[in-house]
Point group: C2
Chain length 559, copies 2
Amino acid sequence: MKYIIIGAVAGGASTAARLRRLDEKAEIILVEKGEYISYANCGLPYYIGDVIKDRDKLFVQTANSFNERFNIDVRPMTEAISIDSNLKSVQLFNSSTGANYSETYDKLVLAPGAIPIVPPLKGINLPGIFTVRNVKDTDLIKAAVQQLTMKHATVIGAGFIGLEMMENLHHLGLDVTLIERADQVLPPVDFPIAAILQNDLVEKGIDLKLNSSVVGFSKSANNRLIVEIESSPSLETDLVILSIGVKPNAKLAVDANLKIGDFGGILVNEFMQTTNPFIYAVGDAIEFKHPITKKSTTSFLAGPANKQGRICANNIVFGNTNSYLGSINTAIVKVFNHTVATAGLSVKQLVANNIPHLVSTVFGGSHAGYYPGSEQLAIQLAFSPKSGALLGAQVAGNKGVDKRIDILSLLIQQNGTVTDLCEFEHAYAPPFSSAKDPINMAGFAAENMLNDMVEVYYWDNITDFSKDEFLVDVRTSLEFKKGRICSAINIPLDSIRERLNEFPKNQRISIYCQAGLRGYLAQRILSQNGFQVRNLSGGYRLWKECTDALNATQQLEKT
Amino acid sequence: MKYIIIGAVAGGASTAARLRRLDEKAEIILVEKGEYISYANCGLPYYIGDVIKDRDKLFVQTANSFNERFNIDVRPMTEAISIDSNLKSVQLFNSSTGANYSETYDKLVLAPGAIPIVPPLKGINLPGIFTVRNVKDTDLIKAAVQQLTMKHATVIGAGFIGLEMMENLHHLGLDVTLIERADQVLPPVDFPIAAILQNDLVEKGIDLKLNSSVVGFSKSANNRLIVEIESSPSLETDLVILSIGVKPNAKLAVDANLKIGDFGGILVNEFMQTTNPFIYAVGDAIEFKHPITKKSTTSFLAGPANKQGRICANNIVFGNTNSYLGSINTAIVKVFNHTVATAGLSVKQLVANNIPHLVSTVFGGSHAGYYPGSEQLAIQLAFSPKSGALLGAQVAGNKGVDKRIDILSLLIQQNGTVTDLCEFEHAYAPPFSSAKDPINMAGFAAENMLNDMVEVYYWDNITDFSKDEFLVDVRTSLEFKKGRICSAINIPLDSIRERLNEFPKNQRISIYCQAGLRGYLAQRILSQNGFQVRNLSGGYRLWKECTDALNATQQLEKT
C-alpha cells in the first residue's frame, strides 16, 4: 500500500505516525509545503512573548527525526498542486529545487490546515502587518519585536489567538491596543463570561476598542503604521497582528471536485472520508457533523486534529470501522491572571440554532474557602429544558478553570445531564476542591430550575424593569451599602421570615444576592409562603461584571 | 411534619438544610453530640499545621447561624441515646444540662458519622496519644504541638489522614516518624502509584516504618512517650497521632434493630432508607451497594455524605424518587509536592472481587512540555478486558493530578470505556495541557491493549525472568548508560529496523523504554516483522519507582 499525506502538522503528522504503527510495510509519503513539520502551533505566541525561550522547543519532530522513527518519506518545502483522482496521483512541486513531479497513491489524506483570513483592506500588505499561523510568521514577528524602536503593537481580533498575542506582546513591555469588531472580547463565548475577562483587561491598562472595524492601513510621516478605524480616530502603531480568524484551506479539494461544506471545509463522513472513497481528510480543513446541532461545522483546534488523525489511520488500514463523534470545540485561553474556557454550544449558538435551552450561572471557590489561596470562578451551564442534557458550558476565573471545563466537556460528550453533575463524585481535599465542588453546585442550581423548584431571571432582564417589579436585595446591609442594583430595597435573607409582611402578595418579586445561593434560599422561603418570586442567576456579582463591561465599552466609545 | 436529624456535620447538616428548602413549614430538629456543627472536618490537619491560621475558618455554620438561616432547631451537646421505632421517638441526653428527654418524629435521619479505630493496646490511653476526628481532638493536638518541648511526632497509619497529619506536623518543624502496618504508604492505592509518593517521602527525610505493627505504648523516664513496635526497637516520641482508620458509628441503629451491613454500617437502600421505612441514614455511618462490585460498601468521604444528604431530603419530602448511585470512593491527598488520587476500584480490589481486568500505566506532562513548568504525572487505568469499561483509575504526580482524576472519576460514574478516553475532548492551550492530554494517551494505550495491538508486562514480572527471556532497552544509549533493568541489552528504537537480525525469532522478546511509548513503537515494528514481543507498562520509570521503593523499605528494615 502507498499512502500520501498532504500537510505535516497536527492532523497530518498524527495520521502518518498511526499509519506506520498499523502498517509497518506500507510506503508512506508525508508532504509539507513549509520548512517545518509537526511543530507546536499553539506555542508560537509564547515564543514571541519570550515565555518559551528556546526556539527548538517548538519542534516536536523534524523531517529527519520523523523519518528515522517512523520510516516515513517526509518531504518539506513540497506543495501539492493538484490531485488526479482518476489516476490516483498527486502533482507535487518542490519549492527548494523547483522540481515538478507526480506521485500515485492507494489512499490519500488531506491535512492542509487553515489559512488566516486577510481582508482586502487598503495597505494590508504594508510591512509590519502580520498573521500568526506558522513558524515563518513567528520568526518575522520575533525579529520585529526585537527592534529597539518597537513601542506599540495593535492586535486586530480579540479571539483566542488575538488575546494570547495581546498578552505576550504586553509581556514584552509593549503598549498594546486590542481592536475587536464585536461588542465583547472572545466572541465565541457568551457576553457575561467574556465580561469577567474584559473587566480585567481594562484594569490592566490594555487599550481595548470594541465595536471597531479596521478599514485600512497607511504609513505615517515618521514611518510608523497607521491603523484606520471606521468612525474613530486612526492610531499610530509599530506592529499589527491580524488575528480575525482562519478558514479551511480547501483549494486542492475544490479543484479535485470533492464536496465542500457550508463553511468552505472539505466535507468528511464519520470515518474522515471525503466524497472520494480513496481520499480522507483531517484537521482544520475539514467539515464534519456537529454532535449537538447535527449540522456541518468546523474545528480549528489541535486536540481534535490529533484525534482525527488516529481515527483516519484506523479507518484506512482496517476499513471504515472507527467513527469520529465530532468535536464540541472545547477551548481555553489564559489571559494574564484570568482563564476563560468553553465546551459545547454557547447560548448565542443555541439561540441561532433554535435549540431550546435553560441557562444557569453560579460562582464557586477553586478549592475550599478555608484553605489558603482559593479563588472564585464562574460556571455557566446551558441545558435542555426537557431532558436536562448539558448542551454547553463556559467557565471564567483563574485557578481550576481547566479542570472544571474538562469535566463539563466530558459530560457533554457522554450525553450527560445536569443531574449527573449533582451526582458527580470529585476528588476532594481542601487544596483541590470543596466537599461540594462548584461543578456540583452548578448541577444543583440547574436541576432546581429543571424541576421547577426555582424561577430565575438574568442580568439583562433588569433593564426591562417596570414599576410593577419589586426588587429585593437579600444580602447583608453592609453588602447592600457597598453597591446595589437600581431601586432595590434591602431585606437580608436571615430576616425574611420575620419580615414577610413587607413583601407584596400581588406583585412579582425579583430578588438577588451576591452570587445566587442566598437568593435561592430566600426564594424557597417566599414561594412556599405564597409569593410569586424569581431569583437573579449569578447574582449581583455577575450583574456587576456585565454592567461594568458595558459601561466601560460605552465610556471608551465616548472618549 | 416533624423531622429529627442525628448528627450535624456533612451528611446531617446537608439533609437538614435541604429539608428546610423543600419544606418551609416542617419542624426540623438537628441533634449534635459535640459542641460544633457543620465544621470543616477535612481542614483539621491544616489548622494543626498552621496552614489554616484562623480557627474560625473551620466553622461553616454555627448552631445560631444555622438556626437563623434555616429555621432549624439545632441542639448541640445533645446525644441520641436510643430510638423507639414503634413510638417513633428518640431519647435524647443534653450533656451540658444533664437533661434526659424524648422527641417524637415523623421521619428520622441518622448521620452519626464514623469513629476512629482505637485498638486496645497497652498504654493506649496515655496522655499525648490522639485521634484526629473532630474539633475537640484538634484543639487538644494544637495545644500539644505548641509546647516548646515538642520535638518529635509519630503518626500511626499512612492512609489519607495519616499522610496529611505527617505533612502538617513536619510543616511545624517536628521530626516525624510514620508507621504503617502494610508494605506501602496509602494502602487504598496500588503499590506502583504509592511507590512514587513513598520515594518522595523518604527523600524528604520522613522516618518511614513499613510492615510495622505498634504493640503498645509506655512512658519513658523523662516522661516522653515510648512507641513499642513488633520485632523492632521501640522509639521515643512526644506525640502520637493514631490514624489507622475509622468505622461506622452504628450503635444507635444496632440497638434499634436496623439491619447492619458486612462492615458494621447502617444498611440503606438506593433511597438512603434503612430497613425501617421511617428512618433514613446518610454519611460515614452507612453501607450502600457499590456501583461496580454491587457488594455492600462504606465511604468515609465528605463529598458523598453531602450528596447523600440532598438525595435523602428529596426522598423524604417527595417520596422515594431520587436514587443514589453509590460512591466510587474518589479521593485525593496532597503530600509535600506530590499528589496521589484514586477513583473506582484499585487493582487489588479487582483481584479480591474476582473482576476480570487489564491494567495500563502511562506517564504524561501536566501541560505542554514546551511551555515552562510542566511536570510528569502517572496515570494507571484498570478496565474490563471485554467491554473496555473503566473500572478504576489512579494518578500520581503534582500539578494537574486533581484534574485528571476528576475526569476519570466522572467517566467511571458514566459507565464509560477507555475508548471514550481516546475521544475525550479536553481544553487545550499550552499552559493547561497538551494537544494529546495524558488522559488521551492513557486511553490510547489501553485501547491498544483492548484491541490486541500490544501485549504488555509489568514491573513485577521482571523478577520471574528466566534465561528464555530476551530483554531489550529501546531507549538511547545515553539513557541506557544512566541505568538499565537487569540484563537488558540496548537497541535504540530508531535503529531497530536496521538491526532486526539481532532479535531472536524463537524466543519471546521483552522490551522497555522510559515510560512505555517508544517501547510500544518498537513493539509495533517487531511484531509486524514476525517477532513475539511484549512491552513494559509504565516503562523503566515505573519499574525504577517500584524497585526503589522496595529497596528502601528492605534497607530500612535491615537497619
